[in-house]
């Protein structure tokens, strides 16, 4: 019964990422879009917090490219089609509005 958590706010001005990590179950995954991808900037505390997620961490490719962010952690870059696919594959999607 896994949940896909979707974050779209920058972790530098907001506590959503920390709260999300607090309730992330072992099979859950995290998808970063919009300003949330700023959390993958190399060398930042947010990036260090995200690194252990490895294959459970996704980011929208266009949001990384649009912001010229090159993460140095293990992350799965996806497009919108894959986003939709993931939404279906998981039991539920929790969007952190």
């Amino acid at each position: 019964m896994a949940t896909l958590h979707v974050l779209s706010h920058s972790p530098f001005s907001d506590s959503r990422l920390e709260s999300c990590l607090r309730l992330l179950a072992v099979n859950d995954a995290l998808l970063l879009c919009g300003d949330a991808v700023y959390g993958t900037v190399p060398g930042t505390p947010a990036s260090a917090r995200l690194a252990p997620l490895a294959n459970r961490l996704y980011a929208l490719s266009e949001d990384l490219q649009g912001r010229n962010i090159e993460p140095d952690l293990s992350i799965q870059r996806i497009d919108y089609a894959r986003f939709v696919q993931l939404s279906i594959e998981f039991d539920r999607v929790n969007t952190w509005l």
Partner: protein
């Protein structure tokens, strides 16, 4: 069979429309007999504080509405113990009874529901 939904409420009561909107979702869902529960997380725990005086802030009372939730069939209210601790609060400070959950119980709670929304 109606799908169940958990509403995660993480906004402080008077900072914006978030708290009121979460309540509106709950009441609308309750009116349609959806199996609903609410989890108060982060600053959302401040919504449950006893003896608030919203009139001082020219706001409408939220507590009365929260207390009315069981009448709409929503009697599962949960609060994150970690969020209370961080804010120097205790379960006894709450004017609205909610079941306290430790961090490890939060993911199990979410897994019980078909849908989750976080406001």
């Amino acid at each position: 069979m109606n799908k169940s939904m958990l509403i995660i409420n993480r906004q402080s009561p008077w900072s914006g429309p978030g708290a009121r909107e979460a309540l509106d979702i709950a009441l609308a869902g309750g009116a349609f007999d959806l199996p609903l529960a609410m989890l108060f997380l982060d600053d959302g725990v401040f919504q449950l504080m006893s003896d608030q005086q919203p009139a001082q802030l020219e706001q409408k009372d939220l507590a009365a509405n929260l207390r009315a939730l069981p009448m709409f069939g929503i009697d599962e209210l949960y609060v994150a113990l970690g969020s209370l601790d961080e804010r120097g609060l205790n379960v006894v400070d709450l004017g609205i009874p909610a079941q306290p959950l430790v961090d490890s119980e939060l993911s199990a709670l979410i897994a019980r529901f078909d849908h989750v929304i976080t406001l």
